[in-house]
Symmetry: C2
Subunit: 204 residues, 2 copies
């Protein structure tokens, strides 16, 4: 098997196979596509990959991803954003998801993950102390705990609630609503989602 393909092609297949969810066949397809692409395009892809680590950094206040030239996240420094309202999310891409709604005018705080004892991620691995600091400095009124609807996301939300209570920090806390997603038939909704939808029903 080893000497059918040129070494450089095998290397590229191995390297592309490290991407999440990419198996051997997909990696072959990518490598073969790149082999036929122009040198310029491949160079720009290679540069973009290398620039990721050198041109992107983490905002020291919100922990969102920012440009290397920026001091803080533009979503935080923007005077039109309400610093008293903070959405707490797990990962930087969650910020993008919430921004896409165009509905949120507050600021963000990226925890950098969720509490997961199995993966050895406790409160100390997350940006929780910095959140506490920020609540005081920015006089935060409300925290929207926008962690994922997973076991880890729920644990993290519960932990934050207790942690802030223990520290006697007065801040209103909310969770994103649970319910039936748009476009889903009632009969296909799972029991837990449907229970949430019942509990969270709104008068009309």
């Amino acid at each position: 098997m080893t000497d059918i393909l040129p070494a450089a092609l095998r290397d590229a297949i191995d390297e592309l196979g490290r991407l999440p969810g990419v198996g051997a066949r997909t990696a072959e397809r990518y490598a073969y596509f790149l082999l036929r692409a122009s040198t310029d395009k491949n160079t720009s892809l290679a540069r973009a990959i290398q620039s990721l680590k050198t041109r992107v950094k983490v905002c020291p206040i919100t922990f969102a991803l920012i440009d290397i030239d920026e001091d803080v996240s533009p979503l935080y420094s923007n005077a039109n954003r309400d610093k008293g309202l903070v959405a707490v999310v797990e990962e930087p891409l969650d910020v993008v998801a919430l921004e896409r709604t165009g509905q949120f005018k507050g600021t963000y705080h990226v925890l950098g993950g969720a509490i997961s004892p199995i993966d050895g991620i406790g409160p100390d691995e997350l940006h929780v102390p910095e959140l506490v600091e920020r609540i005081k400095t920015d006089e935060v009124r409300e925290l929207i705990i926008a962690t994922n609807a997973s076991v880890e996301g729920e644990s993290t939300a519960l932990f934050l609630q207790r942690y802030l209570q223990d520290k006697k920090i007065e801040v209103q806390m909310s969770r994103l609503a649970r319910g039936i997603p748009v476009g889903v038939d009632l009969e296909y909704a799972d029991q837990i989602t449907l229970s949430h939808a019942l509990q969270g029903r709104r008068s009309i």
Copy 2:
């Protein structure tokens, strides 16, 4: 939307989104994965992508992909391979698929595509003249036309047959057998495949 993510991350998402079958969400996932990977790993991926064009070339006889340092494909120069038996395939990766069977001891000829009038690929765009030359030089006894089981693959096989007849080139030609793939129930086989399986039935 444009200024939520750092420019370098947006670039990486755009560039990764050029890969075949990769949409915006998958590209985001890849970029975010690479952002968290080590600088070393990203450098080796970037290098592997750039080496593809500089370290891989095409064999001047078989048109298989070979190392930049090699003169001809090792599958051709190998004295144990039968030069009188040539499998004609569309793409370089088809060579890998046939080699994986471990059953083929002949040599290969990569056409570089299939005849497809829609895409403007006629016989002149494929390595057909070189195949004719090779049949004479290597005294080829048999050509196995191992093009894909698609309309283009079939047209290419038919074209080759007529082309060689017109040129009065005496060579035995064969096609890969069509039939029911291993592990597939008869009831799920499509009509055309089943017709081929009937026509190509073997006495036992």
